[in-house]
């Protein structure tokens, strides 16, 4: 579905502030996968996701989406953007219409859909993100922070992309709002068979949701594997300024203290299943 081949990207190329954001990144993401993307600030996460829908063009290398090479001539980049829905950080700042419904319709209307179909999609998307229907006729600026966030995500979802990329969708939300949005994202992933890329700073969230985890470090792929593979390398993760879920820390400490616990425990459930028989003994 998504393939990066030796992709590099440099900001302010040639100037005094030149900064290499991505350095020879190659990876492959299958259709329907849920990928968690983690990395220290400035590790190239935001750059990578912007390359995936053509907002940025790679300096070298290829970005291939669904078999289409984005650098090829004659590729309509807008079609790619409808296919790869990107929800940027703090997406509520992109709201601009008079009503929430109109704002969610912005994407679908840009696709050339008729008003009626766009509205149907908007209502469906709002429902998917858990936005109550009575809010749709309100001004987006009257909504609460969490509701705005949902409206913005619905605006992306209404384009019915095949890939949904979310850059820290829960930043700045309270715990209840955070859990609900994440739950909704998982729900969408399952029900609509979406390929999801979730950029997050929360190891817990990524551990809970992702099939595979992509770890970026100074513009390079540091690790790319299942949560248990990635979180088994807690020492390296800490070295590059990241961390492991708290439950992994607990398991690591217990192992260090002599308990017989395998590496790569990342959910409370797993830890519970391993610890319980030990405690019974």
């Amino acid at each position: 579905m998504i393939r990066l081949e030796n992709v590099s990207y440099t900001y302010m190329s040639g100037g005094p502030f030149e900064k290499k954001a991505l350095d020879d990144v190659s990876l492959h993401i299958n259709e329907g996968e849920f990928i968690g993307v983690i990395g220290h600030t400035g590790s190239g996460k935001s750059t990578m996701i912007q390359l995936l829908n053509g907002l940025l063009k790679p300096e070298s290398g290829k970005v291939i989406i669904d078999g289409t090479d984005l650098s090829e001539k004659g590729v309509n980049i807008r079609d790619i953007r409808f296919k790869v829905g990107l929800c940027m950080q703090y997406p509520e700042y992109q709201l601009f219409e008079e009503t929430v419904l109109k704002d969610i319709c912005f994407g679908p209307l840009n696709m050339g859909l008729f008003q009626k179909e766009a509205e149907e999609r908007a209502k469906f998307a709002a429902n998917m993100t858990g936005l109550p229907e009575e809010l749709l006729d309100k001004s987006p600026f009257d909504l609460s922070g969490g509701q705005k966030r949902r409206a913005a995500i619905a605006g992306i979802l209404a384009m019915e992309p095949k890939v949904l990329i979310l850059d820290e969708p829960t930043a700045g939300l309270d715990p209840a709002g955070r859990d609900e949005i994440l739950f909704k994202i998982r729900d969408m992933h399952k029900r609509m068979k979406l390929t999801v890329l979730l950029v997050s700073h929360s190891m817990e969230d990524v551990a809970k949701l992702a099939d595979r985890i992509l770890v970026l470090n100074s513009g390079r792929v540091e690790m790319f594997g299942t949560p248990s593979e990635v979180f088994a390398q807690s020492a390296r993760l800490r070295e590059i300024g990241l961390n492991v879920p708290q439950i992994t820390m607990v398991a690591d400490r217990l192992r260090a203290a002599g308990a017989d616990i395998p590496e790569g425990i990342y959910t409370v459930g797993d830890c519970y299943r391993i610890l319980l028989p030990m405690l019974k003994r």
């Binding site: 990107l86 929800c87 940027m88 700042y93 696709m111 992306i156």
Partner: protein
């Protein structure tokens, strides 16, 4: 594309130009602007170009970076040139239909373009070598004699500081919003002028809203730190003229004399 705007950007350094007192630099720039319009012949512009080139060489700013500052107003320069070229009455040298070029037109167009270019290059050099804080500090001190006639010098300087401070922030924000809307399929750089103007709405509205929100937050933050205007406010770094400034004034006076001399010797050309 927004990253090309160098206006208001500051490159830290320790050159002769960087060390000049901001007041000196502002006065020099005022003299420079006067000169740009005072010059009546091309010899004068050559002298000015040499002076500017010297300043750039001394400042350590890469000429490429300075010239990039021209890019955003390139269209404006080209239009000014074309309008003056074709619409100045005088001795005709070329005609095609209603289009005609006159001797005066050529001269006038060249002068206008040169003036614009010199204005932008000179002022860019000022902002590239002077931190916004120093710049407004200098401005405030230069304006302070006018406080006697109730000119709010401090408030003007503070407004300028804030405005300059927020240029990069707003550019960043614009870039972000443009990306977010393009991700939703907004086509910003295609279509005719009307559809482009319409495409600006989804960018301008969020931009205004965030600007107002930022202004509000900034006002609150300033009040939290007990800001209450310029009355009785002291500074951590007082501006002082030094030996470099005297040198700066001498150079400027020499150039001014040279320009006036050139104007008198070569006359209008």
């Amino acid at each position: 594309m927004l990253k090309d705007i160098t206006l208001g950007q500051y490159f830290p350094g320790d050159s002769f130009i960087h060390r000049l007192d901001p007041r000196t630099k502002i006065l020099i720039i005022i003299a420079y602007v006067v000169m740009v319009f005072l010059i009546q012949n091309f010899v004068g512009y050559i002298a000015l170009a040499l002076f500017l080139a010297l300043c750039v060489a001394v400042s350590g700013i890469s000429p490429k970076c300075l010239i990039r500052g021209l890019k955003p107003i390139l269209v404006f320069i080209v239009f000014t040139g074309i309008f003056n070229l074709f619409l100045t009455p005088g001795e005709e040298i070329w005609r095609w239909g209603f289009l005609k070029i006159t001797v005066e037109g050529v001269r006038f167009a060249a002068f206008m373009v040169l003036r614009l270019v010199f204005l932008i290059l000179g002022t860019s050099l000022l902002t590239l070598t002077t931190s916004p804080i120093a710049l407004t500090d200098g401005m405030e001190r230069l304006l302070s004699p006018f406080k006697k006639v109730h000119l709010p010098a401090h408030e003007i300087a503070m407004m300028m500081t804030i405005a300059l401070r927020f240029i990069p922030t707003l550019l960043d924000e614009t870039d972000k919003i443009m990306k977010a809307q393009s991700a939703r399929g907004a086509s910003i750089d295609s279509g005719n002028i009307f559809s482009r103007a319409k495409a600006m709405v989804p960018i301008l509205i969020p931009l205004f809203i965030s600007a107002f929100r930022r202004a509000d937050e900034l006002a609150t933050a300033m009040e939290c730190r007990c800001y209450r205007g310029g009355e009785g406010r002291t500074r951590l770094y007082e501006l002082r003229f030094g030996a470099v400034d005297v040198l700066g004034w001498i150079y400027m006076a020499a150039l001014l004399a040279a320009i006036i001399g050139i104007n008198m010797i070569f006359g209008k050309f």
